[in-house]
């Protein structure tokens, strides 16, 4: 097994705990805002690690670029969605936890 295979595989495996932690946050955090915080950050770090890891393993620049495109699209989507949901929740009068 080549070094690239090892590095890629380790990156993929390193990405998985972020998903588990994101779900933990989704289940345990007290309100919408804190849950947004958990998901929008943790999941996208995990996705980034998985995409880049798989890209390194595939040893193909086209595939790596495609995987990075997927990551960037997901980042844009979740950043916008998080912002929109938080703004609207605030405008609807949902009080952040602890205030």
């Amino acid at each position: 097994m080549s070094t690239a295979q090892w590095i890629g595989g380790l990156m993929v495996l390193a990405g998985i705990p972020f998903f588990l932690l994101g779900t933990l946050g989704l289940l345990r955090f007290p309100d919408v805002y804190t849950r947004l915080h958990a998901l929008a950050k943790a999941d996208n770090v995990g996705l980034g690690l998985v995409c880049i890891g798989l890209g390194i393993q595939s040893a193909s620049v086209t595939l790596l670029l495609k995987l990075v495109l997927i990551w960037v699209l997901m980042l844009i989507a979740s950043a916008t969605a998080a912002g929109l949901i938080a703004r609207t929740a605030l405008a609807r009068g949902l009080r952040p936890w602890g205030t």
Partner: protein, 103 residues
Amino acid sequence: MTELYPAVTVLLLLNIVVGMVRILRGPTAADRMLAAEMFATSAVVIVLLMAFVTGNLALIDVALIFALLAALASVTFVSRAWSAMTGGGSGAECGDDEPGGRS
């Protein structure tokens, strides 16, 4: 490393199943929508891993479409659905001023 990927897909699917509790419990519509967003991210990773496990790289396109459309549900939710949950908006038809537009 690659031998572990099937097990990882199971783990991620389990992650989604556990996350479904949030859809069940709510309490607000936003919480449910958030959970659905999270599932899209996990599904992207599952599809990508499956593409590499089975060697069918066409599956990467499925992940690409998921990523591209991930924003749509939330945007629709915020700009169309949520306004109704708490009331607001007149709900007029745009052809109201025309005679016979609504009989």
